[in-house]
Symmetry: C2
Subunit: 359 residues, 2 copies
Amino acid sequence: MLELKVDLGDRSYPIFIGANILSDPNYFLPYIKGKSVAIVTNETVAPIYLDTIRSTLAGCDLTVVTLPDGEQYKNLETLNLIFDKLLQSRHTRKTTMVALGGGVIGDMTGFAAACYQRGVDFIQVPTTLLSQVDSSVGGKTGVNHALGKNMIGAFYQPNAVVIDTATLNTLPDRELSAGLAEVIKYGLICDQSFYEWLQENIDRLMSRDPEALSYAIHRSCQDKARVVEADEKESGIRAILNLGHTFGHAIETHTGYGSWLHGEAVAVGMVMAADLSFREGNLSKEDVDGIVTMLKRVSLPTLPPSGISPGRFVELMAVDKKVLDDQLRLVLLDSVGNANVTDRFNHKNLMDCLEQFCS
Amino acid sequence: MLELKVDLGDRSYPIFIGANILSDPNYFLPYIKGKSVAIVTNETVAPIYLDTIRSTLAGCDLTVVTLPDGEQYKNLETLNLIFDKLLQSRHTRKTTMVALGGGVIGDMTGFAAACYQRGVDFIQVPTTLLSQVDSSVGGKTGVNHALGKNMIGAFYQPNAVVIDTATLNTLPDRELSAGLAEVIKYGLICDQSFYEWLQENIDRLMSRDPEALSYAIHRSCQDKARVVEADEKESGIRAILNLGHTFGHAIETHTGYGSWLHGEAVAVGMVMAADLSFREGNLSKEDVDGIVTMLKRVSLPTLPPSGISPGRFVELMAVDKKVLDDQLRLVLLDSVGNANVTDRFNHKNLMDCLEQFCS
């Protein structure tokens, strides 16, 4: 079992990483103040893990909210289903919510916890690689709006994050790959030696070697915690975590939520960001090719879907939250292992990049 | 012009109180960081004050969101109308929201500001007495749910509160009275000398004497700020601000939002809380009668609507947020000027109280 701490003063919390820790009450009970617990999960995860966590929390008064599965349900309407159930079951301010599922469940449960009676405790139990290395850590919660992703939400930290690596055994291949996109991202933005480790070990990760996966999850959470500790509410440096995301969100918005996985869109976005970084003179062609090669080894796409014109692509990027005062800001690479957030890039380079990728 | 400060560390903010300060940019511009401002108001307030504030903020890029007027619109659906407009108008994280209206507008705008892109700045411009002395100060924001009032929300402090006392000139009599219920509340829970001042000056307030109103608003905000500073997130003492509210919420829920004004329900609730405090041996019969007399001088109701049985009343009280772990907690008076929050009262006394008031 590996443990690390996200250090945010009175909002600090531990992350536990280990196989089968879902069935160990010691990782849960110290973080549950009252007796009352609401587990929020979805139709895919419930049949596999709900019984286990029910036994683990057998001493608590449990309410279970099972939501439909998919990014298309990450909205205010579905959020309200959680509130309905909590109120019908008379949950008070002393309740603890448990998010059992992937990023969508984690983001919605966290946001519901932030808003329910103006804030209750919650525990993240991420069951996908993507949510284990990314969304469960750092306190970003929220839902989508028809006009943009994650437009409505809160910064709200969990009381603990419990990552059971055994849950990855049931994860579909495509989602494993999507999660690895974010793992690779940490290497690119802030951890060159991890990136080098990934180049050596990427096949072990793809074959689900438990030791390699635990190491990569721990290192990714560590990298993310370091960035979040420096800038909890994303007034600056935290935005580097969005490498590839502004390009990626354009793809997700264009295709409609749910057809591309988030990690797949981010993978293409990272390639495009790397390409623009190359055009800006900060990355070598070899670096860009190396990134493309690694993503391909992970079975991730490296090109956007056809049918988005460069003009439309820019338009879709501009709705993204990272736009400040009409200035498009992007995360670009200074080198492999170093990212920066900037609105100072040559617009022609961006358009050339989009011309190359969009057809 | 009177000014006071709510001292909450890095979330501190000023409250400005004065006649016609709505037209003075000096009370707004220092609290607006970007150029972009979204004013949220309603159909009743907009025709009277929107032009004034438009001129005051003439240098900003303004978006106006005009909502229907009424507590029945204080829900997630209406909240989403704010998000729609903000996103359509491309408001970024650097936008500042301005709540121009009464408590419903203030609560919804504050909650929208808390959630929009995970948090933007906002300024409260309360235009009713109730919102000036209560909801605009202290950072409680939120919306109602079909199963209970203010069940979904956030603690989110404004950047400034601008109270233009001249707006009270257009306030309907019934709403003036409803606001005075909360003013009287401050005297009862924590400020005996203010309560004595009110006994002397209540008629001046009813006749809208500007000097008396300014004094009462300032003193009420001061009292509230003191309580909020001691317990921002209501883990203890802040709950005394809910004197009469648990009884009152039962009335509001029974009658449906919108037929009784909040202050009217609170007035009855305060009488019931005082009656229970008397039964508990902490208040004299004369104190209770004095409270009833003052509320009557303010044209406020002192009895609940007919048709709620005592059993139903308790049931409706129990859905209130102030219930912790199935224990009904109430704000009771130790004396005029001193309140406490307790679950240690004689249940028979409560039922006797309800028997007396419910028919």
